[in-house]
Amino acid sequence: MEDLKLELKKNIIEILNLEDLSIEDFDDNDSLFGDGIGLDSIDALELIVMLDKDYGIRLTDPKEGKKIFESIEVMATYITEHRKK
């Protein structure tokens, strides 16, 4: 689980071009959107693509993302339970 959280932080920084952030800036329970890391709606779509591409998880309803992408902790738990690759 800790490895997955680290992988997610690295991938999010790379995929979303968060060049001004480092892994240390992410707390596992920080909110990824709004006042936390500050991701936006396009980032949310990009995370949906990442779930499909890297973990074989296909979200049919983008609204599901709101709950899944709450924090690194929540994402890691969801991926562990639903991953197909």
Binding site: N17, L18, E19, D20, I42, L45, V49, D52, K53
Partner: protein, 202 residues
């Protein structure tokens, strides 16, 4: 009565160099375009996290606009933006196309897709400087001083705006070039087609 309009400030970014009003202010020997742009971002001491999400064309437009507008209070002014280039958003179009070429590895990127229009760079400048003004992005084979001069003059003489941020912002493969200027009633260089041509070619 016709207003007397001038080129208040101009800059060019090309060949790993930046010049402002004809003076070289920055140069670097980085090989990759994206690395040079990052050097420029740091040189200008910008703190704007959205910058890193932009495509290369928008980054070039954004950085050029930062140089031109850093001493101008655009919040109180109605500044129009008229840009043009040769390659439109082709650099990003190619990148997006590559993400959807393979049916077995089909992962279109939303973050890339949003930049598959050249005028998105104008949007990025407008957000940064809170401009809600007339704007347009045109595609020509090369910088068209005649078109730019007439469009800019028309906007100013018809009181559509108080100043115009205008010029050429092009990027294609490893080649890039920006020539941006601000036209208003201030300044000493007269806003003429001939002067625009001359400044572009220096």
């Amino acid at each position: 009565m016709l207003k007397k309009t001038h080129i208040q400030k101009y800059c060019s970014i090309k060949n790993n160099e930046i010049s402002v009003n004809g003076d070289l202010v920055f140069s670097a020997d980085t090989l990759e375009v994206k690395d040079f742009f990052k050097d420029v971002y740091q040189f200008l001491e910008i703190k704007y996290s959205k910058y890193f999400k932009m495509d290369l064309l928008s980054k070039l437009a954004f950085l050029s606009a930062e140089i031109i507008l850093n001493e101008v209070n655009t919040k109180e002014k109605n500044t129009a933006i008229i840009l043009s280039n040769n390659a439109s958003s082709l650099e990003t179009d190619r990148k997006y196309q590559n993400s959807i070429n393979d049916k077995d590895n089909y992962f279109p990127s939303p973050a890339v897709f949003v930049y598959t229009l050249p005028n998105i760079g104008i949007g990025e400048i407008s957000i940064r400087h809170q401009l809600k003004s007339e704007n347009g992005f045109f595609v020509f084979e090369k910088y068209n001083a005649n078109f730019h001069y007439n469009y800019e003059k028309s906007l100013l003489q018809n009181n559509k705006c108080e100043s115009v941020l205008a010029g050429w912002v092009n990027i294609d493969k490893n080649s890039y070039e920006a020539f941006l200027y601000l036209v208003s009633e201030k300044g000493i260089i007269e806003h003429t087609e001939q002067n625009l041509k001359q400044l572009y070619n220096t």
